[in-house]
């Protein structure tokens, strides 16, 4: 059921490929660079974790097509609200890898200014970013701009009240928002059928009076097309759109997780056949846009970015205790300064 009726651009089982109008060769190659950059970030992070160079890490292997499709369907002025699993999506908006690595290293420099890149902070509590995205998009409309926003979340997130209240409010205020649900069919160890009795997650949109699109989440161009349609609707003042991108969580939930306790290995193996990166590279090859040389070059470029990123991160000195107290308030209660002073005194700083 879940896999039925998904729109695709890249052919499967002998179906022909399509070209997406408006996407010239350059644009396709840019999408490729984004896909590979995210894949490389993810692969290296798993290695860095095993080397004890970053902390627990939420793996997004197999979801790069969704993240990439979303970012490329937006303009630089449009906002992105990532779920915790989309931690590195900011790379596609120019955030340095070091910043995101520092977030996973628990270093106080692991933050960025959302305003600079129009990417909200990593949101750890599931679904709670949906109302933020609704409010931001609403605010953009009130500001009279035609900028839009996209919010990413998972299948499990759709069970949360925060998703419901955010989506409903977005529709009522006609917020220029695209709600992108990464239906990877698992919430940690909880399968989709234990999450909802709905036939599809796109069905959730009906209750908000919101149009919905269902796409193959392994197909970056299908995601791109759907989100672009939603963005167009948003800009023209017609309110939010729901996009269900169906994938499968073929990797562990996070570095700490042992999926063997619950997941079906055959299904995982089957999904790896549809890995979004080779799928898109095949498409480019058939168009004659990608050869081994370029593939290596792009890969190298990404690896270089990661090497630089981890080096920069590891080179940074540990944060000062002052930072425990900074930034909580613009105008802090006087007690904070006293507490800091006391802390430094005790620890002979």
């Amino acid at each position: 059921m879940v896999e039925q009726g998904l729109s695709r651009v890249i052919g499967v089982e002998g179906e022909p490929d399509r070209r997406v109008d408006g996407l010239d060769d350059e644009a396709l190659l840019a999408i490729h660079r984004s896909l590979v950059l995210l894949r490389t970030y993810d692969e290296r992070s798993v290695v860095y974790h095993s080397q004890g160079r970053i902390g627990t890490y939420a793996i997004f292997r197999g979801h790069e097509a969704i993240q990439t499709g979303v970012v490329h369907a937006l303009e630089q002025r449009d906002w992105i609200f990532p779920s915790y699993r989309d931690s590195a999506i900011g790379l596609l908006r120019g955030l340095p890898a070091a910043t995101i690595l520092q977030w996973w290293r628990g270093h106080p420099s692991g933050w960025w200014n959302p305003e600079d890149v129009k990417v909200a902070s990593i949101c750890v509590p599931i679904a709670s970013q949906v109302p933020h995205a609704a409010g931001l998009a609403w605010g953009l409309r009130l500001n009279g701009t035609d900028a839009a926003a996209a919010v990413l979340f998972g299948d499990g997130a759709t069970s949360e009240g925060a998703f419901h209240e955010g989506a409903n409010l977005a529709a009522v205020v006609k917020a220029p928002l695209v709600l992108v649900c990464n239906n990877n069919q698992w919430a940690i160890s909880t399968p989709l059928e234990a999450q909802t009795a709905a036939a599809t997650l796109a069905d959730k949109a009906v209750g908000y009076g919101m149009p919905a699109l269902r796409v193959d989440g392994h197909d970056v161009l299908a995601v791109y097309e759907a989100v672009r349609e939603g963005v167009a609707r948003a800009r023209s003042g017609d309110g939010p759109t729901f996009v269900e991108a169906v994938t499968y969580r073929s990797s562990p939930h996070a570095t700490a997780d042992d999926p063997s306790l619950y997941i079906d290995p055959e299904r995982v193996a089957a999904d790896k056949e549809r890995d979004c990166v080779p799928v898109f590279e095949g498409y480019l090859r058939r168009l004659g846009l990608l050869d081994a040389e370029r593939a290596t070059a792009v890969r190298e470029e990404s690896l270089a970015a990661m090497r630089a990123g981890i080096e920069t991160a590891e080179a940074e000195p540990p944060g000062d205790p002052e930072l425990v107290f900074s930034h909580a308030y613009a105008d802090p209660p006087a007690t904070l300064a006293r507490d800091l002073e006391d802390l430094l005194r005790v620890h002979g700083r």
């Binding site: 200014n113 909200a120 109302p131 995205a133 209240e165 409010l169 930034h327 105008d331 006087a334």
Partner: protein, 331 residues
């Protein structure tokens, strides 16, 4: 601070709230009011009356019935440059928003390394004594003040209701303002016209005294004043209206206890981990040598707020405050 305020007019406390909103929305085009029934109706207590007509349906918005969604949207509105003033219709109906408050409102600025501000306000009528059905009577200040990254103010007079709300709206940080609904329409007083700001973190000596200090906020300030009256002749009682619980005017508190040496703290909320406990702990920590007797707390009880025919047994009464004061004085 109350710079341009020249003349004053007599207002009820809820009218002063409404006045503050009119002045601040007029003053700053980025201030907007959102909440349930704040627009067409002007709020179930009329606190937002006239705003929708005057500033339009985009600056005074009737939202869907979803407190968490409303506060979450306010976070996003801040990111778009707005300064949302969120009304929660009643104290106990604000609880669905606690998750957004604790996980985001209080942390988002910190999360951006101070790069983004979240100058939103959450205002709500709070407290008991109004002969209402269940869950229209809570005093939720503890849940809010325990949460890092937020500030909290509680006016006791019409002038402070206007001045503290104005300060909250202009504050760069998220501020919760609890309005004592018990005195919405009974507390009447002179309120400066035009712009009027009462800085957060400055307690008010509601009445001077030298033998004992009654510490309170919101609707309990008037109860303490009546208790002070009742003690006339017996003792000279100071009444300290905290006005803002975070930031707290520790200075004023310690100075007063330094003079009187005796303290009773009065709150409507349940006792355990209430703000009265915070005040007492502060004195046990910083004023132990000044204390000439125990610090007593007169509070609501650690039980659900009762049916309203029984609420006078639950709410701190003048008798209970006087009794506690006498026990400290006789210690």
């Amino acid at each position: 601070m109350s710079a341009t305020a020249v003349t004053a007019k007599e207002l009820l406390l809820v009218e002063a709230v409404n006045d503050a909103l009119h002045v601040e929305l007029q003053r700053d085009g980025s201030v907007m009011v959102i909440g349930e029934d704040v627009g067409r109706l002007g709020g179930v207590f009329r606190a937002t009356a006239g705003l929708r007509d005057r500033f339009g349906p985009d600056r005074c918005v009737d939202t869907p019935l979803s407190e968490a969604g409303i506060l979450g949207a306010a976070v996003g509105l801040c990111m778009a440059g707005w300064r949302p003033v969120v009304e929660m219709q009643y104290d106990a109906f604000s609880y669905p928003c606690l998750d957004q408050l604790i996980t985001h409102v209080g942390r988002y600025r910190w999360r951006t390394g101070g790069a983004m501000g979240f100058p939103l306000v959450i205002r709500m009528p709070y407290g008991g004594g109004v002969r209402a059905p269940e869950l229209h009577d809570d005093s939720p200040e503890s849940y809010y003040v325990h949460t890092p990254g937020v500030k909290l103010a509680v006016p006791a007079t019409p002038a402070d209701a206007k001045g503290l709300l104005a300060a909250a709206i202009r504050d760069p940080d998220p501020v919760v303002v609890l309005e004592p609904k018990l005195v919405y329409r009974t507390a009447r007083g002179a309120v400066p016209e035009g712009e009027h700001v009462v800085e957060l973190g400055q307690a008010r000596v509601a009445r001077e005294g030298s033998d004992l200090t009654l510490v309170a906020w919101g609707a309990m300030v008037a109860v303490c004043e009546r208790a002070a009256d009742a003690l006339t002749g017996e003792a000279s009682v100071e009444v300290l209206d905290l006005r803002s619980l975070k930031p707290l005017d520790e200075e004023a508190l310690l100075t007063s206890i330094g003079r009187t040496g005796r303290c009773v703290v009065v709150q409507e909320a349940p006792r355990t981990c209430g703000f009265a406990s915070e005040v007492a702990a502060l004195l046990a920590e910083r004023a132990i040598l000044d204390l000439q007797g125990p610090v007593l707390r007169v509070t609501g009880y650690d039980v659900p707020y009762p049916y309203w025919q029984l609420e006078d047994w639950y709410m701190p009464s003048v008798e209970r405050v006087v009794d506690a004061a006498r026990r400290v004085l006789a210690f």
